[in-house]
Symmetry: C2
Subunit: 357 residues, 2 copies
Amino acid sequence: MATLSDVARRAGVSPATASRVINGSSKPVTDELRERVLAAVAELQYVPNAHAQLLARSHRSAVGVIVHDVSDPYFAEITRGLQRVATDQGRLLMICNSYRDPDRELEYVELLRGHQVAALILAGSGYHDDAFTRQLNEKLAAYEATGGRVAVIGRHEHSGDAVMPDNRAGGHLAGRELCELGHRAIGVVAGPRILTTTTDRLAGLRQALTEQGRELPERRIRYAEFDRDGGAEATARLLDADPGLTAIVALNDSMAIGALATLRARSLAVPQQVSVVGFDDMPIARDVTPALTTVRLPLVDMGVRAMSLVLGAGTPAPRVEVLPAELIRRDTAGPVPAQRRETADTVPRARRADAAS
Amino acid sequence: MATLSDVARRAGVSPATASRVINGSSKPVTDELRERVLAAVAELQYVPNAHAQLLARSHRSAVGVIVHDVSDPYFAEITRGLQRVATDQGRLLMICNSYRDPDRELEYVELLRGHQVAALILAGSGYHDDAFTRQLNEKLAAYEATGGRVAVIGRHEHSGDAVMPDNRAGGHLAGRELCELGHRAIGVVAGPRILTTTTDRLAGLRQALTEQGRELPERRIRYAEFDRDGGAEATARLLDADPGLTAIVALNDSMAIGALATLRARSLAVPQQVSVVGFDDMPIARDVTPALTTVRLPLVDMGVRAMSLVLGAGTPAPRVEVLPAELIRRDTAGPVPAQRRETADTVPRARRADAAS
DNA sequence: TCCCTGCGGGAAAGGGCTTTCTCTGCGGTA
DNA sequence: TACCGCAGAGAAAGCCCTTTCCCGCAGGGA
């Protein structure tokens, strides 16, 4: 690789001058030398060594981002928001996928710190795991102690700046909607128990049911991976255990799509026999058939805000921005079927079996 | 940030010794010093400056990847394959989104070169743009001249290693299937004209129709963005111009989903009134209703191979691996409706209008 | 004419790390 | 006892840039 001094030598100038020309320094350089340098750069196809530059400059510019998986639409949307702000400010993003592995998350914090990022954004659910949380906070604190900025998206455990989707309110919205449609036998297709996102959404849902004088017994909840196959599988287990279900809440849209697949496979009409409500409103939600009723989170906006937080001026007190959830009514949630209007819980066993057939 | 000399000072050793301990150098260090260094590292929360390391080591390890958009399922799958191999070999990936902007692509080549990546992988369609292609090749050649490895995925223009999905054969597969189902009035919802992927798939499709004694006139093709909305819009234009269409080929699955949306909006039953064939077989294809008949490309495998090519031993002659396309029959393509069995081209105007209603 | 100013350019000092080279001191052999 | 060899540690030379500091020179004012 050609280096700066190669360029300088070829142009017959000092490395200092070459550097000034290349970086458009404020220090003036005569046109003649400038041209010679530029010509040398072109001839040698010179590209500055980014690492040497970063070492020489004190200025840190890149921003590190840790998500569970960029290719997951949830994170893809958040990332879009992050990118928008970063690009506007000429920042480079380093995006890392933790694939929901806490250890990998820890490793990436180190890695990004080593890469001298100016700020760090952790997006995605936290874990119910005290040991992990403590370790993470230690690392984050160490980073912040050296001037690094940190913001989290959708995580409680961090003490600094945070952007929080209102998962609990979203869960509540889904629950209330279904109650108002008359459903009583509601099953839940949930993500991993260890994720705070799962428990937050679940908590909101449970609260809504309780407010309506109903319950969400643990046997009506199935935990699985937060993806399509997890949703399909959890739905199957739910249905096997409780054929009388008239509604299913999936704790994200991918799982909802899996749920829809299982219902279709079992020839259960949606929403005539079983209603389904998803969560997140990812782009595909409107394109499945029937179009998915779901709880929308302002994903892009979450990204925008987190990045703004981290690139803007710091404040002594941590800022927490809670972004609201919104119910998007489409076609998968309908009134409870007539023959099941009574609560499945109180229906005699025999009739319940009937109703399921 | 704590530096290596901070660690060394605290441990009462030289930076050289500290470095040896931290990197597990082959040079032996007594246990006592080793412990002192490790203790200092922990106390100071020391993380080596990655840029300084990269500068000092001659060894280059990271691999640069340029895709159109990682959050697009097509690239997400390819990236999964790339990651798999990279992770196995302990390589870090730097992934950049060009958002189908040729200039940005050029910039990223420079950027990644500046970051001293050991190899470069360009995934995604090439452009019918000679000036761009020349520039790109120049940059790539300069990079290769300094020992960089390059592989492309799905691009013709590069003279080196390449992994090529058989887009043409895939187009052919889609065309033949539709012909065998009796369709004659086939419309195409195509991606941007400037992309070689579009033209390759189109060429295969056209060839299949020609072989069956049919034609693919330009008026039956609509070019739009390679996404859901592009597909929806192009389908609408196609239908407006030619209501007698009995089949639509979408040149990728996102567009196919858009096509499905438009057909649903117009109450045209799929596949009873109109058949649809997609391309790529992205994961969601099986979950839309009706499930999408499409042409599968081994996306993950494409990524795996490209990365293996680039990390394996170089060969004097460039290697081109062509990966086959496969037709996945699901539920969106069916036999041509009875009343339209004759070709739309030969049906009198009046009857064509009837048929469309 | 002399001095001061200011402009354009180069020399050189880092920035944080790796690695070669050098040095010290010890044990072992003749 | 004298010498050799080697293990283990440190000194220092880079890696490739940026940027401060300094210098020479030309032009302008007194």
